[in-house]
Amino acid sequence: MKKGEKKGWNFNYTTRDIVIIAVIAAITGVVNTGVGNLWYLLNTSLGPLGGALLQGAFMWAYILAMWLIRKPGAALIVGIIEAATEILLGNAAGIGTLGWGLFQGLGVEAVMAISGYSKFGLLTAVMAGAASSQFGTVWTSIFYGWDPSTAKDVWLAIPINLVSGAVLSGLLGYWLSKAIAKTGLIRSAG
């Protein structure tokens, strides 16, 4: 976002914003497809607790995109495009991957909406990462049939999900946005 542009609920996406979203989504799609294979192994063999350990590792780019573009919907759009990329790369959930993109993106958007899309500090990033991780688990429960009324692991996994998302996505995404800001490549990332 350039200086002088409207802050907060500004849906006016520039061409540059669209291209940045596409690039981040493509890079994340490649990375997450690899991490995803490890996650599927943990999730299908150990259940919700196994999946929760790595659940937070998928959303760092959603935070990064939101911190670079600073407009409502940036995380959700990255989530959906990144998921579409993963489908093409052979993600082991096929079109079901879109569910994670949607839910995880909504997790970040929910936290950012509460902050009025105007707070871009470390605490917001950590909370967005944690929320995104937990939102993603909702889709995992639906897709893999973890019934919260009978499987207590779904509940035990919540704190692990939150910590995993806060650290692996929130902190990492925030750190990356700061590091990119230092390069001077993106003006709004400071």
């Binding site: 890079i27 490649v30 990375v31 759009i77 990144e82 093409l88 079901g96 639906i142």
Partner: protein
């Protein structure tokens, strides 16, 4: 990782599925997926699995070897998920294996989730094998998706092979500087951290250039845009969707009546 590594690339085999309107195929994948979420019996899942397999081989002219090659990881994960449900789902114990108990409900639910995973993924693969991404984006735009949004998806797909080349170049650069890629896990993690940051920076630099080029060509100036290669919908394309709805609906009704 490139799409070709998994055999997941579009190929025009001049099949019926190749000619079906991309949006109809996308809707078909969703119809198949929704059905799998509603089924209560593994038999319905098995019927749909066989149906999709036949659709791929007959209507899509996709060789069985290719399906098996691309699907082996997914079928393996599906089996793991099935075994997990055997042991975890509550119900009456039918078999004991040390501290582990297999329940009657687990034996029912396990195959349901195996077929859910396998069929959803197989249907998605069929979409990829038989659909040109560009055609899918054009059809999405025709359906009312803003072309700037559809273009973002298309651009991401366009960037994929470039990113793979970028990864190879960064790896080679690090190797030349004495950072081997076949080291311990901790070192590999550090290497990947470096790769990702470098690729991100290079990617964002390309993004800035691409955005400027697009704006120079008046991208986004007009409410609609034209395409060199257009795609057209034919009523005959709906056959695939209608037949699948009939089969899926029939299975759902049969589960409840029989």
């Amino acid at each position: 990782m490139s799409t070709s590594e998994h055999g997941l690339v579009f190929e025009n085999r001049k099949s019926y599925l190749n000619s079906v309107y991309p949006l109809v195929k996308l809707a078909w994948v969703f119809v198949v997926a929704i059905g799998l979420f509603i089924y209560r019996s593994p038999i319905s899942g098995a019927v749909m699995f066989l149906t999709i397999l036949l659709v791929a081989m007959i209507a899509g002219k996709i060789p069985f070897q290719q399906i098996l090659g691309s699907g082996k990881i997914i079928f393996g994960l599906g089996l793991l998920l099935m075994f997990f449900h055997f042991f975890v789902d509550p119900g009456n114990v039918v078999f004991k294996l040390g501290p582990l108990h297999i329940t009657d409900n687990g034996l029912l639910q396990g195959p349901i989730f195996f077929f859910r995973l396998s069929v959803v993924v197989l249907a998605s693969f069929i979409l990829i094998w038989t659909t040109d991404t560009r055609d899918l984006m054009v059809s999405l735009t025709k359906a009312g998706v803003p072309y700037r949004g559809a273009f973002a998806v298309f651009l991401a797909m366009r960037f994929l092979p470039l990113i793979q080349k970028e990864v190879d170049a960064v790896k080679a650069a690090h190797s030349i500087r004495g950072k081997p890629t076949n080291s311990k896990f901790g070192h590999r993690f550090k290497l990947w951290r470096r790769y990702i940051f470098t690729i991100l920076i290079n990617g964002l630099r390309k993004a800035e250039t691409t955005a400027t080029s697009l704006e120079c060509r008046a991208f986004g100036c007009f409410p609609t845009r034209t395409y060199v290669k257009d795609v057209h919908y034919k009523p005959l394309d709906l056959i695939l969707l209608l037949v699948t709805i009939l089969i899926s609906g029939g299975l759902i009704v049969a589960e409840r009546v029989l």
